[in-house]
Symmetry: C2
Subunit: 221 residues, 2 copies
Amino acid sequence: MIVKHFQRELDKVKKMILSLGALVEQGVHRIKAAIEERNVVLARDIMRLDHEIDEMEVEIEEECLKIIALHQPVAADLRFLIAVVKINNDLERIGDQVVNIAQRVQQIAKQPVAPYQFDYSVMAEKAETMLRMSLDSLVNQDLDMAIEVLKLDDEVDKLKNEAYDRIKQAMADGATKDIGYMINLLLISRHIERLGDHATNIAEEVIYMIEGEIVRHGKLD
Amino acid sequence: MIVKHFQRELDKVKKMILSLGALVEQGVHRIKAAIEERNVVLARDIMRLDHEIDEMEVEIEEECLKIIALHQPVAADLRFLIAVVKINNDLERIGDQVVNIAQRVQQIAKQPVAPYQFDYSVMAEKAETMLRMSLDSLVNQDLDMAIEVLKLDDEVDKLKNEAYDRIKQAMADGATKDIGYMINLLLISRHIERLGDHATNIAEEVIYMIEGEIVRHGKLD
């Protein structure tokens, strides 16, 4: 009976972290559109998600601690619950990055005509894929998929560096006198990259759960 | 006997996290000097700390899990161990920020004469104080000190915004044609601010341990 009860609690926490994941994914998906459309209204709507994300994060951590205290799990179950505490934290921070991007979008959208063309759609798409795959790898305990996330992270890093070079060049060429606009563009690419970093943290936790070996700090490459 | 053994294990983990804290503090202290002196050699030396920090982080997490599995602590002891897992994570990420700053310092130091004067000493000093106070608040379970860290975080944020405005203005005024140099300056201030954010996370964990109430997500202000 107690084992059954424990399993039910584990399932509950699994459902909770996936609900949070779905909410954060929604935010990432919509921020991608907000960047592309320089959509102020959408950016503002997205920022409203953050409060809900914050509350869910607190609830999930409380739930994990309750289960550990009550059922005193060991080995894989304990590892899973600690991983959830950490993944929970990363999801909340992805939410923070989405808010940061939304604020930048509101800034750059102030200008009626974009003084410099940019395209972050590929980069944002990859970051969104990283998040989805990291969560799928968690649900299915899929090692290959988690490793795929780490590879995508390298691609996103590369795209961020390219964006940086392009913006620097455009600024040097005097593409626009609006330095603030250009800096906001630069920062959006950095926020997308950090969003990808948090998805990478999640994937690394999943790999650790499966392999029992720590791959943090780039030990896999 | 088992209780005594458990207490010894807790003390051990406390010592480990403080050793890691001391190492990270050393990195922050030295990076402050590296920024001020635009010191490439120092920046390179500091980057060498990172590997050691990464290894300690992994060891500490393993230790916490071992203790939880073996001694099945509840209430305050469990909360403490989970807090250590999270604080551990933040310390390692502060180490990453130090590396990021070191890389930027190497970039800006390439120019024999600094084309634009900047001073991050106050900001870096405050971030270092935040880290030290967050660790002290952990050791002494000092609520007031932890709250002080949250206040300092607002100050660092303000300094970062001021640095941003100044750099933007200097760029608009054509203070230097070297856009890369200016962007590196901008990014250093952001890395210092993120460093402070991680110290804030640590302080929030300490407050939670003491108060049993979650103050994350700015609920304190």
